[in-house]
Each structure stands twice: as C-alpha cells, then as structure tokens.
Amino acid sequence: MSTVIAFEDVWYGYETETPVLKGVSLTIGRGEFIAIIGGNGSGKTTLAKHCNGLYKPIKGVVTVNGEDTRDRSVAQLSKTVAYCYQNPDHQIFHQTVKAEVSFGPKNRGLPAAEIEQVVNEALAAVGLAHMGDAEPYFTSKGTRQKIAVASILAMRPDVIVLDEPTTGLDYRGMQEMLELVRRLHESGHTIIVITHDMRLVAEYAQRVIVMQQGKVVCDGSPAQVFAEPQILASAQVVPPAIYRFGKASGLADPIPLTYAAMKKMLTGVGD
C-alpha cells in the first residue's frame, strides 16, 4: 500500500504554553478507512488540520504524497486532501447550496462547464441534487453536514478527512452519512473519520488510531484496539456495547464487535 500522508515526530501548539501535539508519527496508506478516537481536547482536530496544511508543524514534518506541507498552500493540497470541519457552520458561507459547493472549483479556476459538472456530481453523491437553490442556513444540521461534504467532494480529493461527521444527526441522518462515506471509500477514496461513536468505529473502520493528550497511544484494527481496556479508559473511550456485553458474559475471544457478528455467534444465524 503506498503512503499518502506521513507524520514524522510532529509537534504543534496554539498560543498557550502547553503543546497540543507531542511527537506524532504515523503513515496513512492509500485506500485506508481510518477512525481517530480519543478524549475531548486530545488533539484529534489539531492532527486532522495538519493533513491538508491548515496547520503546519512547529517541529517535525507532515508530507502529502512525499511533499512537505510547509512547501504547499492549502489550495494546492486540496487537490489531494480535503478536511471537513467539526461544525459545518464554520465552513458554510454562501447564499445557496450550489454557490457553496462551486466555491472551491471556481477558486481553482476551472472552466464553467467543468464546474457545473463537478458540482452536480458532488451534490448527487450526497443526495442533494434537488437542493442546489436552497439556502444552507435554513436547512437541517444533517443537510448542512452533507453540503459541507459535497463542497469538499467538488475538489475531487483522494483523501477525505471528516471531523465528527455524524455529530448532532438523528439516527437516519447518521446512517445516510455513513453509507455515503462507505460509498466514497468503495470508490477509491482514502477516508479518515474522527468520531466519538464506537459503533461507527466497530462497523466501518479498518484501522483505529487512539489519541491521548497529544500522542498516539494505540494504532491497530478495531479488534486489537478494543482489547486494550487500560489504554481506552485513559483515552476516555468506552468500547461498543456489543463488545462489553461479550466481555461481561465471558464469551470466548475473538469477541464480536458488531450486532450482526454477535447474533451470528450466539444463534448461529446470520442476517
């Protein structure tokens, strides 16, 4: 698997005296589906904003396709990596959905016909083809979240970083968002999702990175990570209910992580 993004001993701090990232090293391979989890304030958003050059390390190096992010602007990097904000309202500024989604491609100087095409494709991908003329401000949180995702899709990035994409959505909205992310992954995008939802992690992620106080404290498959109770507790994380039930009931390893797998194990019947 080829590397798209690499962090080498990355340090970062805001104006306050304490550093927020303290020597993060990791590589992200093309086509991975990664979840980043960890406590409030552990540095997930700060880490994510390094992926597309919004923040540059104070010490250490972040490379995207082998190039140091310090030598590239966010606009240049946006062809490869897109970051979707934790709060979509920090990202949405235009009067209509279409204007919002067209902003990136216009900025990049694409010809009008091509802009029209990428915008239509992006809106279709998130299921908002019919809402081009709507005013983002008056739509629901779930819709604004999708508008934000469409805006970054219109840049056709390889890597998509989604910062808590399901936060504040109801169950249906959440399932829609997750199916959208799954489709994007299947169509070849590298996906990095920051989340506090362990069911999402268990059902969708291939790899989990656990952050605690600015450091990566665990990095592995969901099964490997959920089997580390001490590390998880110190990172403010609680494994998914299904796994906790298996643990509390003394089931044999490997304990299933998802409802479907648990059902199969206990009844012998799959869905």
Binding site: G41, V237, V238, G250
Partner: protein, 280 residues
C-alpha cells in the same frame, strides 16, 4: 402519594412566525421533583422547541403564535444545543460569572462556585482560557458548567453530550443522576444517545412532528420497539440483542423485565447459561 408537579404544560400549541405548520401541537406534560426525563425524536421533530417552551423562552423571546398554558414556580436552567452561539465572556471564568451574577451570588461565592463546577465537568485549569478557543467537547462542557453553576431546580439540557467523548458523556449523565438524588433536581435532557438515556433516565418522551407520541417509564418506553423503529429512533443494541436472544430461545421468556444496560443483559445471559448447563 405523588408530589406536586414543578412544571406543567397544558394543550400547548406553538407556531414560529412565517412557518407553514405548528412546531408543537397538543402538548401536555407534568414534570415532578427528582425526575430525569429523556426527550427523543428525529431531526426537526420539535425537541428543541419543546425545551424552549418548557423554559418559557417560547413565547417570551420568539415570534410566533402560542396557545395553551405553561406553569412553573421553579427556578430553571438551560443548556442550548449550540453552546458556542451563546458565549459572551472573554474567559471561561467570565462566562460562568455572568450567570452567577444574574442569579445574585456574591463575589466570593462566585469564585468558589466556578472552581467547583469546572471540576465537576472536567475542566479544572480552564478558567483563564477563551471559551471560543476550545475543542468542540470542551465548549460543550463550559455550557454545562454554566447551567449547573446556580443549581436550578429544573435543568433543561438540549443534546448536551453530542460532542463529548464516550467517558465524558457518561460522566455528564452520572452527574445528572447525582443532582437528582442529592438535590431532588428535575432534569429534562434531549439526546440521540439512546444507550445513555436507557441507563440514566427514569422516563422518556418521544416527540414526532411536534406531538408527544410516547411518554413512559424507561423500561416500558424501550419495549415499544416497533413504534421507535417507525420514527427512526435507534433502539440500543443491548435491547435489540435481548429481544433477538429471546426469540432465538437463548434467553427464557420469563422473567419479562427489559434489561437496560450491558450488565443487566449479561446477568440474564449468564443465568440462562447456568440453567442450560444444570439441565444436562
């Protein structure tokens, strides 16, 4: 004997100005001292509108058409869904001091209280920080601290844990239960986190299209799986697992008490395993 309700809504209808349909209709609700009441419902169902109405901010601060009656003699606190839009202080300390000053506390009391509530929400050492320059979950913790600080009798929380880390969310819910037990506080909390609601609430309300569809004690509430499915409410996996295992004959039909968390379900499961082994 039942206590007197702290807050009552009778036949409340509310329609925001310039909207096509009412956001609340036929709402009747009694809130008693020392209850933790969950509010669930799909997006745009009216959860926020219900909390604003219970708080009195609707109709006081909103334009629209109000019919019905809402009565209370209790002191209220509210945590809004989007805390950031409400911040006015330059520091976290100032932010908390505003609400305490308004509630008539003295300077020494205020200082003491601020230290106390920041510790309660896990933000010790954050007093001098700008509330705008915090992580998402930290902002949400500031909003909760602010509402808790003047110890209201009724606390209304609108999706207070949506951005909290898993342990933090549980801590907030445990705190809510403690406030109920120690101070007989009444807490109304809207949330999509049905797993936490099942573990921590006494009673749950389902709101859909501005109406109260269900208003039941927690175990009865989560037994209504079909109604919850119809309204797109996530039934916690523990509860789905329980019904599935009963149907598959892994768990017995009796006793017929719905488990609400991992520990309760696991106990039923282990008991059933023992019975099975014993009968060999």
């Amino acid at each position: 004997m039942k206590k007197e309700p702290l807050l009552q809504a009778r036949e409340v209808h509310w329609q925001y100005e310039d909207t096509a349909a009412p956001s609340l209709a036929n709402v009747n609700l009694d809130l008693y001292p020392g209850e933790v009441v969950g509010v669930v419902g799909p997006a745009a169902a009216g959860k926020t509108t219900l909390l604003l109405t219970l708080s009195g901010l609707i109709p006081a601060n909103y334009a629209g058409h109000f019919v019905g009656e809402r009565k209370t003699h209790a002191e209220l606190g509210i945590v809004f869904q989007d805390p950031e839009t409400q911040f006015i202080g330059l520091t976290v300390e100032e932010e908390l001091a505003f609400s305490l000053e308004n509630a008539g506390f003295t300077d020494t009391q205020i200082e003491h209280r601020i230290g106390e509530v920041l510790e309660l929400v896990g933000l010790k050492g954050f007093a001098e920080r700008s509330p705008f320059e915090l992580s998402g979950g930290e902002k949400q913790r500031v909003a909760i601290a602010s509402a808790l600080s003047h110890a209201p009798q009724v606390l209304l929380l609108d999706e207070p844990t949506s951005e909290l880390d898993p342990l933090g969310a549980r801590e907030v819910f445990s705190l809510v239960r403690r406030l109920k037990q120690e101070n007989e506080m009444t807490i109304v909390v809207s949330s999509h986190a049905t797993e936490e609601l099942a573990s921590f609430c006494d009673r749950i309300i389902l709101v859909a299209e501005g109406r109260i569809v269900l208003d039941l004690p927690v175990r009865e509430f989560f037994s209504q799986v079909d109604i919850l499915d119809t309204h797109g409410i996530f039934v916690p996996e523990v509860i789905r697992l329980y019904f599935m295992l009963r149907e598959a004959g892994v768990l017995p039909e009796m006793p017929d008490v719905l488990p609400l968390d991992v520990e309760e379900l696991s106990r039923l499961y282990r008991e059933a395993q023992l019975v099975r082994e014993g009968s060999w």
